[in-house]
C-alpha cells in the first residue's frame, strides 16, 4: 500500500481560484441554505449554472458535452462546493459516479442520451443499490430483472436511495441470474417509468431525500441495460471507488468547521484551538490522500483498496470532529433555531452516524481493505 505524493499544477490552482471567486458571487452568504455535503439541498438552477461553467461532468469526454478534464480538476471544484455547503444535491450522484460509469460502460446511444444532460445539470441521478435484506452485502440482492421480449421486466424494492424523489434517472442494480456476483446487471431507468413508485422515507432529521423504490412489472428496454449482462457487480465496484475515494467523505462538515474555526468560542479557548489545530492537520493529511487517489484514477488505475482505506477512517474522523465541535458548543443545539449555524450543527449531530454507513459500512470496508492488503 503506497500512495504517491502529488501537488496541484499552476493551472489547477488557477481553477481553484476561479471556482472560489465564482461561488462567492453566485452564493453570497445568507442567500442559500448551507448544506452538509451530498445531503445538501437540490437547486436545479444552481446545478445548471455549474454545468454552464463546465464544472459538471468534468471528466466526461468532450464529444458528449463533458469537460474532458481530470479527476483532480473535479476534486478541486468539489472541495470548493463542499466548503461552502453549496446546494449540490440534484447533480451530485450523476456527476460523481453515474456519469463516469456510463462513459465507461455505456453504449454509444446511452452516452449520447445521458452524458450531455449530466454535464449540463439537467439530469439528476440516484443509485438503486441497497435493498431491505441487502445493505452492504450487494451479492445478496433479490430485486430481479427478467429477460422478456425486447427488454427486461423488473420487480422488487430498493431502499435507502438518496435523492430519488427529485432525480430524473435511476441507475439500478438488479439480479439477472442466480450467480452470486456474476448474476447482477445495471439498468438506467427513467424516474417516471410506469410501475415505479418512489416514496420518500422521512430521514432522522426530518428531511425527505431518502427514498424507497418499488418496482412492479417495470419494463426496461434492452437499450437501457448498462454494460454486459452479469457485469453489474464489477461496474458497481468501479463506481464505489468514485463514491469512497473522494473528499466528500470527510468534507460534509466543512461549513460547520469553518464557522466554528472563526468563532469567538475558539478564539477565547486554548483547548478549542488545540482541537481545531488537530482537525486542520488531519484534514490536510486526508486531503493529500484523496488527491493521490484522484491522480491514480487519472492514470487509469482503480484504487479500490486505497479508496476504502481512506473512507473508513475519514468518515470516523468526520464524526469525531463533529463531536469536538458539539462538545465546545456549550449546550444542545436546536434543530429549529433561527441561527442557521446552530440548526446545521443540530442536523449534523442527528445525521452523522450515516456518514460511516453509506458507500459501505466501516465494518465491511475493513474486510475489503484487509483482503486488498493481502494482494
Amino acid at each position: 500500500m503506497q500512495l504517491e505524493a502529488t501537488e496541484l499544477t499552476e493551472a489547477e490552482m488557477a481553477l481553484q481560484m476561479e471556482v472560489r471567486e465564482y461561488l462567492q458571487q453566485r452564493l453570497p452568504a445568507g442567500t442559500y441554505e448551507v448544506g452538509l455535503g451530498m445531503a445538501a439541498n437540490n437547486d436545479v438552477e444552481f446545478s445548471k449554472d455549474l454545468g454552464a461553467k463546465g464544472w459538471l461532468g468534468m471528466a466526461l469526454p468532450k464529444e458528449y458535452g463533458g469537460g474532458g478534464r481530470t479527476a483532480v480538476e473535479r476534486l478541486i471544484v468539489v472541495e470548493e462546493l463542499l466548503a461552502v455547503g453549496a446546494p449540490i444535491g440534484f447533480h451530485w450522484v450523476g456527476d460523481r459516479q453515474s456519469g463516469p460509469s456510463i462513459a465507461k460502460h455505456g453504449t454509444e446511444e446511452q452516452k449520447q442520451a445521458f452524458l450531455p444532460g449530466i454535464a449540463s445539470g439537467e439530469l439528476g441521478f440516484a443509485i438503486g443499490m441497497s435493498e431491505p435484506d441487502s445493505g452492504s452485502d450487494l451479492a445478496s440482492l433479490r430485486s430481479r430483472a427478467e429477460k422478456i421480449d425486447g427488454g427486461w421486466r423488473i420487480n422488487g424494492t430498493k431502499i435507502w436511495t438518496s435523492g430519488a424523489y427529485q432525480a430524473t434517472t435511476i441507475l439500478g442494480l438488479f439480479r439477472t441470474s442466480e450467480h452470486k456476483h456474476e448474476g447482477l446487471t445495471q439498468f438506467i431507468i427513467d424516474r417516471n417509468v410506469e410501475g415505479l413508485t418512489i416514496s420518500p422515507i422521512p430521514f432522522i432529521d426530518g428531511t425527505r431525500h431518502f427514498c424507497e423504490l418499488s418496482f412492479e412489472d417495470v419494463f426496461i428496454p434492452d437499450e437501457r441495460r448498462l454494460g454486459e449482462v452479469g457485469g453489474g457487480w464489477a461496474q458497481n465496484t468501479g463506481e464505489l471507488v468514485l463514491e469512497r475515494g473522494g473528499v466528500d467523505r470527510w468534507m460534509s462538515l466543512m461549513p460547520i468547521l469553518e464557522w466554528w474555526a472563526a468563532s469567538d468560542a475558539v478564539k477565547n479557548s486554548p483547548g478549542a484551538q488545540a482541537d481545531l489545530g488537530a482537525i486542520a492537520a488531519r484534514s490536510w493529511a486526508f486531503r493529500g490522500m484523496n488527491l493521490a487517489v484522484a491522480r491514480m484514477v487519472d492514470d487509469g488505475k482503480s484504487p479500490v483498496t486505497e479508496a476504502a482505506l481512506i473512507k473508513e477512517m475519514a468518515t470516523r474522523f468526520e464524526q469525531e470532529s463533529l463531536d469536538t465541535v458539539a462538545r465546545h458548543y456549550g449546550r444542545a443545539p436546536d434543530l429549529n433555531s433561527d441561527d442557521p449555524h446552530e440548526s446545521l450543527l443540530a442536523r449534523a449531530i442527528l445525521v452523522s452516524p450515516s456518514w460511516s454507513i453509506r458507500g459501505g459500512t466501516n465494518e465491511i470496508l475493513r474486510t475489503v481493505i484487509a483482503k486488498g492488503l493481502g494482494k
Binding site: M1, E258, A274, G277, A278, A280, W284, F286, L373
Partner: protein
C-alpha cells in the same frame, strides 16, 4: 549529486540504502547498540556511502541529493530501527551549512533546545546546560544554536570532550544526555536559521523516521497474524484482528504519503503549516498504531526478544521530539483561529497561512 529543487528521489540510492539497513540493522544489532551506544562499524558502513550527509550540498562538504532523498533514507532508517544518529547528524550539518560552514564526516548531534536549557553565548564563550541531547556520548561534534545577549542566533560547534556529559536514555534505550559546558571558547557563526527553523526541520526528519517505523510495524503485524494460529486458525482470519492490521496500514500509509508531501512543500518554500500538521498527524498515528500492533501481537510482542518493541519504543520516543501532538495542534489552531479560512489553509497550506 547536486542539490536541486526537482521533486524526484534517487530510487537506486534508496534501494541500496534499504538493503543495506536490512542487512546491517537486524534485531541483534539494535540490542547491541542499546548496550554499547554508537557502533563504530555500523556508522562506517553507512558513512562509506555518504549517507549521513545526503541532503547537504556538495559545495558545503555534503553528499548532495535532495531533501526528498534524505527523507527517504530516514524513512528506511526508521523501518529498520537503525541505531545511529542519522537525523541528528543531518540537523547538525544543515545548521552548519546554512550558516556557510563546511561540514565533514563523522557522527554529529544537535542540541534540540528545551525550555530548561541555559546555554548562552557571550563574546565567543559558551556556558550553560542543554538537556535531551541525543547521542552526545559517542559523536564527534555537538552543534547548537545559541543566542547572544541580543537574542540573535549563532551556530556553535562543541567538542564532546570539552563537556561534562550526564548520560541518559530515551524510551528506546538510545543515548539522550545532559551536557554542560563552562566558559568554553567557540567559533560562533551568525545563523540564518532560528530555533523555530530548527524545530521545523527536526519535526520533518523525525516524522520521516516515524513513518518508516509505522510501515514496519504494519507489515510485521500482518505477517505475525498470518502465522500465529489460535483457536485452530490463523488469527488474521478473525475480523477483530483484521481491524488492527487495517488500522496499522491506515496509519502508516497516511504518514508516509504526507512525509513526501511536506518534504516537497519544504523544498519549494515556506512549509510551517505542512510540517506542523505532518508531525501532529504522525504523532497521533503512532499512538494509535502502537496500541493496535501490540494488541494484535498479544503478550508475545511485549517481550524484548521480539522486534516489535524496538520500533514501538522508538515511535514513543520520537513522538515527543521537535514538538508533540498538543504543542503542534495548539500552534496550528491558534494561527487558523486568528486568520480564519480553515478550508483555504487545508488545501493551500503555508502559501495561505504560515503557522
Amino acid at each position: 549529486m547536486t542539490t536541486t529543487n526537482d521533486h524526484t528521489v534517487d530510487r537506486d540510492l534508496i534501494a541500496t540504502v534499504i538493503s543495506l539497513f536490512a542487512a546491517k540493522s537486524g534485531h541483534d544489532v539494535v540490542i547491541k547498540a542499546e548496550e554499547e551506544g554508537l557502533l563504530p562499524s555500523l556508522w562506517a558502513s553507512v558513512s562509506e556511502l555518504g549517507l549521513p550527509l545526503v541532503g547537504i550540498d556538495d559545495t558545503a562538504g555534503g553528499s548532495g541529493g535532495t531533501l526528498l532523498d534524505l527523507l527517504a533514507i530516514l524513512h528506511a532508517a526508521g523501518q529498520h530501527a537503525v541505531p545511529l544518529p542519522l537525523s541528528e547528524t543531518h540537523l547538525a550539518a544543515w545548521l552548519l551549512s546554512e550558516a556557510g560552514q563546511q561540514v565533514s564526516d563523522g557522527p554529529m548531534t544537535v542540541v534540540p533546545g528545551t525550555p530548561k536549557d541555559t546555554l548562552a553565548l557571550t563574546d565567543g564563550v559558551v556556558s550553560g546546560r542543554a538537556y535531551d541531547v541525543p547521542w552526545a556520548r559517542g559523536v564527534d561534534r555537538i552543534v547548537a544554536l545559541v543566542n547572544d545577549s541580543s537574542g540573535a542566533p549563532y551556530v556553535v560547534t562543541i567538542d564532546p570532550g570539552a563537556c561534562e556529559i550526564t548520560p541518559g536514555t530515551d524510551l528506546a534505550g538510545q543515548p539522550r544526555d545532559v551536557i554542560e559546558v563552562k566558559d568554553l571558547a567557540v567559533e560562533a557563526v551568525s545563523s540564518p536559521v532560528d530555533r523555530d527553523g530548527l524545530l521545523l526541520r527536526g519535526a520533518l526528519v523525525t516524522a520521516a523516521k516515524m513513518a518508516g517505523a509505522l510501515e514496519t510495524i504494519a507489515t510485521l503485524t500482518r505477517g505475525y497474524t498470518e502465522e500465529r494460529v489460535q483457536f485452530g486458525r490463523p488469527i488474521s482470519k478473525f475480523q477483530a484482528v483484521q481491524q488492527h492490521v487495517v488500522t496499522l496500514f491506515q496509519m502508516a500509509t497516511m504518514a508516509s504519503l504526507n512525509v513526501s508531501r511536506a518534504g516537497r512543500t519544504a523544498m519549494d518554500g515556506p512549509a510551517s503549516f505542512e510540517i506542523c500538521a505532518l508531525k501532529q498527524v504522525v504523532d497521533k498515528n503512532a499512538s494509535i498504531a502502537i496500541r493496535a500492533a501490540h494488541q494484535a501481537h498479544g503478550a508475545f510482542g511485549m517481550t524484548q526478544e521480539y522486534r516489535l518493541q524496538q520500533l514501538t519504543r522508538r515511535l514513543n520516543a520520537w513522538r515527543s521530539e521537535f514538538g508533540d501532538e498538543l504543542q503542534l495542534a495548539s500552534r496550528i489552531g491558534k494561527a487558523i483561529s486568528n486568520a480564519g479560512k480553515l478550508e483555504h489553509v487545508i488545501v493551500g497550506g503555508s502559501a495561505v497561512l504560515e503557522v
